[in-house]
């Protein structure tokens, strides 16, 4: 699984190409008179069994079976095993795809990064199993706060990220606040009849519209806001300002007060 090339993620959407890869691989195997184990199929199947994934359907060794196997491996390699959320790798793939989209469409896309405040204390006080429980509970809360099209990822120990495509600048704060409050008000069971509450600090930045930026820069900008939220006392949301977020409702009202704008209504 270590060696699973990210380009397989692309192959996954191109069945003819994938099939020809299998044919080439198989030819190569026959040419070299290698035993089937050279394809490390056994290892792959073992990984899947361990993860509780059913063996692919179809005749073992057939293209359909191999496709199922690769799909399962791709899925496995893009998820965080503990929470089932997207892992860091697939998060970065999704982020790169979003940058491509935003550069072409000019749509607003928001990246939120967050971590659990004082997580070490949870671990130290209640043990690592409780810590894992907290991470799973927070993961669940994040998933409940966003749309199906959004990607929620666990990017590190107690660190999470959400990629929100097509999220207008006016709504960013609302979404981030919803996440923050949801976590804050969620009791988590850490021991029999023992509930605790945790909070998250959230930083966010919009993808620069019409610009082909990089995942690295986008993450960096969101991270800077996360540091701000932490520095200002935690359990806070800090989004990089946008033009829209700088103009209050009162200012907008006065700006469009006169009748000349009525034909836009």
């Amino acid at each position: 699984m270590q060696g699973l090339n990210p380009s397989l993620l692309l192959l996954r959407h191109n069945k003819p190409l994938l099939d020809s890869c299998y044919i080439l691989l198989e030819r190569h195997r026959l040419d070299q008179a290698l035993p089937p184990t050279e394809l490390r199929l056994e290892v792959a199947l073992q990984l899947l069994r361990q993860a509780g994934v059913a063996e692919p359907a179809g005749v073992p060794g057939s293209p359909a079976w191999l496709q199922g196997l690769v799909d399962a491996l791709v899925d496995l390699s893009s998820r965080d095993p503990m929470t089932g959320l997207a892992n860091r790798r697939s998060f970065e793939v999704a982020l790169a795809r979003e940058i491509d989209r935003v550069a072409r469409s000019g749509e607003a896309a928001l990246l939120l990064v967050m971590d659990i405040d004082h997580f070490k204390r949870v671990n130290d006080t209640w043990g690592h199993a409780a810590g894992d429980g907290v991470i799973k509970a927070v993961s669940g809360a994040l998933l409940e706060c966003v749309r199906p099209m959004d990607l929620v990822a666990r990017t590190g120990g107690e660190e999470f990220a959400i990629v929100l495509p097509n999220c207008p600048a006016a709504f960013g704060e609302t979404v981030a606040e919803r996440v923050r409050r949801r976590v804050e008000h969620m009791p988590i069971t850490v021991a029999p009849r023992q509930h605790i509450q945790v909070t998250v600090s959230i930083g966010g930045a919009y993808a620069p519209q019409w610009v082909r930026s990089t995942t690295h820069l986008w993450i960096e900008r969101a991270d800077q806001q996360l540091y701000r939220a932490k520095a200002q006392g935690r359990n806070l949301v800090s989004l990089e300002p946008t033009a829209v977020s700088l103009v209050s409702t009162e200012e907008k009202r006065l700006l469009f007060e006169t009748s000349q704008f009525l034909d836009f209504e």
């Binding site: 000019g106 610009v211 990089t214 700088l246 103009v247 700006l255 469009f256 000349q260 704008f261």
Partner: protein, 255 residues
């Protein structure tokens, strides 16, 4: 850089797609026609498209100057319309964020070219990203382009607000593009000024003033020129928008 009059002008807009680059190119041509030496610097580093508007295929760009592959003098190219351009070129992705190095290089380039021209127009990106704000900070005067649409106005207002509060700008010039009737530019200016007076100026030591440099009427010839990648001023000089651009240039020279 102690010239008698402000001669580095940043052309910016709150919102993209309001005609910023089109105006920069044609305003440069109008200024050149009145005998001025003009340079347009493609300062929209992340998504440069001055070359597209002018139908140029530059071999040497600002990117080459930044990366040390070319000297500045070779990157200054003559453009149709009798002015010069300094194009950003592709490969500027790494400059879509304002690092201290980019900052220094941009400052150096501008310091070096400014004495050779009567007007340097900085065609900046849209919005209030740090690249745009930094580029604007290098200019003597700021020209905001807005259309009379609510989103464009909101974003223009936000930009003026940021420039007034973070850069100490007290005078900002406005061009209203795609005006649907004569005098709409004046109405738009008044509207913006009214909100600035109420919500921004009270927080400042001296009030911020918005000057209307002019309005350009909504004109189908503009679209035609853009599609053909031609300068409106050269190919359709008698059209209402072209006449508007000439009067913008005159007003800019007269101050």
């Amino acid at each position: 850089m102690s010239l008698p009059e402000p001669h580095i002008t940043a052309i910016t807009s709150g919102k993209g797609g309001v005609g910023k680059t089109f105006i920069a190119a044609n305003l440069a041509a109008a200024l050149a026609r009145q005998g001025r030496r003009v340079l347009v610097l493609d300062a929209d580093l992340g998504l440069a498209n001055l070359d597209v508007v002018l139908n140029l295929f530059p071999k040497i760009t600002l990117h080459d100057v930044f990366s040390g592959k070319a000297v500045l003098a070779d990157a200054i190219l003559p453009a149709p319309g009798g002015f010069h351009v300094l194009l950003a070129g592709s490969g500027m992705v790494e400059y879509s964020r304002m690092t201290p190095e980019v900052r220094e290089q941009l400052q150096k380039v501008i310091d070096e070219v400014a004495p050779q021209f009567d007007h340097v127009l900085l065609d900046t990106g849209a919005g209030i990203s740090d690249v745009v704000l930094y580029t604007v900070s290098l200019a003597h005067e700021v020209l905001i382009v807005a259309t009379p649409e609510p989103t464009s106005l909101t974003d223009a207002y936000a930009t003026i607000k940021v420039l007034a509060t973070t850069q100490g700008r007290r005078v900002v010039k406005l061009v209203v593009n795609q005006a649907r009737r004569p005098g709409e530019g004046r109405t738009v200016r008044q509207q913006l000024q009214q909100v600035l007076d109420r919500y921004v100026s009270p927080t400042l030591d001296t009030p911020v003033r918005l000057d209307l440099l002019g309005e350009l009427p909504s004109d189908p010839a503009v679209r035609e020129a853009v599609i053909k990648r031609q300068l409106l001023l050269e190919h359709m000089p008698g059209t209402p928008a072209a006449i508007g651009l000439v009067s913008l240039a005159t007003k800019m020279i007269d101050g």
